[in-house]
């Protein structure tokens, strides 16, 4: 081939050798998942090595482990599309959804998959997240005024405000990563956590809602325990700006109601009533 034109049928020995090497490498490529296996009695990390498949997410590999190596591996999952919030776990120590974490985006070497640390273990990768459901019962429900003759009417600008918060898929990764309860179990008694601060912010910003939950948020939901380190925002798979758009606005509303002397004076002069935590909580389902 001295004239520089390529012969489509010609493959040099070097290219052939490279192609063979690549094919062999692809054949030999493996992925190792280091999965925590155990229950409340104890457990350990167990390595599972399988052939690597292109484009897989961690949940795919977990399913292949279930299908081939460990049929008794417990794992919670549902939609495999990042919308049900079931497959929350910790991948290489970082809270995330297994179905949204691509294997080829993780560093070389074994991938550690462990259950969410903040909640009690049931088995393997499955945790008991009922703490969150208990907290949910303590959040006072939407309390609108009676509907007018035309029903309820809202301006688009008011509708849009709460849409971000409604994206929450309740994966509880924000609750898992929040060090207030992750590292201090005793705080679970009086701390709602980021997921419920989103809910409370949504209600407090709702134009039709009549409840005033600020004292409740301060006294019983523990907004003061949050030190705004923004980990909840970092792990949210829906990219909700939890800290900037929900927690800090809630904190500022609590400042209005409890720590701002000018606001206090204004309430006294105008005779405005601040609803107590008990009054606000009366609308809670539990």
């Amino acid at each position: 081939m001295t004239d520089g034109t390529a012969d489509p049928g010609f493959v040099s020995e070097t290219e052939e050798a490279e192609a063979t090497e690549e094919a062999e490498a692809a054949e030999e490529a493996t992925v190792t998942l280091r999965v925590w296996r155990g229950d409340a009695a104890g457990g350990d990390l167990v390595d599972y090595t399988l052939p690597a498949n292109e484009g897989e997410v961690v949940l795919d590999v977990v399913h292949r482990i279930q299908a081939t190596l460990a049929p008794d591996l417990a794992c919670r999952w549902n939609c495999k599309a990042g919308k049900c919030g079931s497959c929350s776990s910790e991948i290489n120590g970082k809270p995330g959804l297994m179905c949204m974490t691509r294997v080829d985006e993780l560093p070389e070497g074994p991938i550690t998959v462990t259950p969410m640390r903040t909640f009690p273990i049931l088995r393997d990768l499955v945790t008991d997240v009922s703490f969150n459901y208990e907290v949910a019962k303590r959040v006072p429900a939407f309390a609108p005024l009676p509907a007018g003759p035309e029903g309820y009417r809202m301006q688009q600008v008011d509708v849009e405000r709460g849409q971000e918060f409604r994206k929450c898929i309740e994966c509880f990764l924000c609750q898992d990563v929040c060090h207030v309860i992750r590292d201090h179990e005793d705080n679970k008694q009086h701390y709602a956590g980021p997921r419920f601060f989103i809910r409370l912010a949504e209600l407090e910003m709702h134009p039709l809602d009549t409840n005033d939950r600020r004292e409740l948020v301060r006294q019983r939901m523990g907004i003061g325990l949050c030190n705004i380190t923004k980990c909840c925002t970092e792990v949210c798979p829906e990219h909700i700006k939890i800290t900037d758009n929900a927690i800090i606005p809630l904190k500022e509303r609590v400042v209005d109601s409890s720590y701002d002397p000018v606001a206090w004076l204004g309430r006294k002069i105008l005779g405005r009533h601040k609803r107590t935590a008990e009054e606000a909580a009366a609308a809670a389902p539990h």
Binding site: R117, F119, E134, L225, I228, D244, P249
Partner: protein, 275 residues
């Protein structure tokens, strides 16, 4: 002083054995870099600013050099100990004879100490609570900002207003830096540029503040009933998204502005007139 006036709440299920290895963290990335950079940068700023405050000289470039440049650390210079020319229109603290910078540093320092971004930075970096996400908290007991002294973080909005006052003063300083006393007239030197950029960054940092966003309109329940406040909120919200970057940029530039004025005042460099 506690947040929990009434700690009797509906009990939630707590306890139970947690799964996973009992290790401070399983993270494999370099999670320690971020808090280390924060600690290094903030410590460097504190050390430099402490030196700049207590050195009490070379903070003003006056008529002798045909300039009117004052370090942001020393403005407004309202003490009897201020060098001639640097003094503001009134000597408020005539009884103050040590470094005048100590009088003015309280406001900006309080604003930054109670700032939501800096809180995140120093809680992670210095207080290790937590050092980074999914890394164990460095403390066995934790009460957050629910008790004294950290409950005082709630006065951030008042420091915001104090910060605005300083922004006005430093903007006046930047305008005054267009004066070329002695040589006559108006001019624009590198020093003028430095003080102008400093003032702009400080305004952007202040206006991106979370308290500002709440006070201007975020605190209302119904945007449609407050169209002007909603419009202001819509302007400040994108700025608020860059609060961290503006916090760092304004912090570092304040130190740079002080250093620039100091180098000119001490004769190490001359302040070039650009036009």
């Amino acid at each position: 002083m506690t947040t929990f006036d009434n700690p009797t709440v509906t009990p939630v299920a707590i306890g139970g054995t947690r799964g996973g290895p009992d290790a401070p963290t399983l993270r494999q990335d370099r999670w320690w870099v971020q808090p280390l950079v924060t600690v290094t940068a903030l410590t460097a700023f504190v050390v430099y600013s402490a030196w700049a405050v207590f050195v009490n000289k070379d903070y003003y470039v006056g008529v002798a050099m045909h300039r009117d440049l004052i370090s942001p650390f020393y403005s407004p210079c309202i003490a009897a100990s201020c060098v001639p020319g640097a003094r503001g229109t009134a000597v408020v603290a005539g009884w103050w004879h040590i470094t005048p910078a100590l009088i003015v540093m309280g406001g900006p320092l309080g604003f930054r100490l109670t700032c939501y971004y800096y809180r995140r930075a120093y809680y992670r970096g210095f207080w290790q609570s937590p050092p980074n996400c999914a890394v164990a908290d460095g403390h066995r007991r934790y009460t957050g900002e629910s008790r004294f002294p950290l409950i005082l973080q709630n006065i951030h909005r008042y420091f915001f207003f104090i910060g605005l006052l300083f922004n006005v003063i430093l903007t006046i300083d930047a305008v005054m830096a267009f004066r070329m006393p002695g040589a006559g007239g108006i001019g624009f030197s590198a020093g003028t540029l430095v003080l102008c950029v400093n003032a702009v960054l400080l305004w952007l940092y202040s206006l991106s503040c979370h308290a500002a966003r709440h006070l201007c309109g975020g605190g209302v329940r119904k945007f449609s009933a407050h169209p002007i406040r909603h419009r202001v909120w819509r302007v400040l919200t994108p700025l608020n998204a860059h609060h961290m970057q503006l916090a760092w940029a304004s912090l570092l530039f304040v130190a740079f502005a002080d250093l620039y004025v100091r180098l000119v005042a001490s004769g190490v460099i001359t302040d070039p007139k650009l036009f």
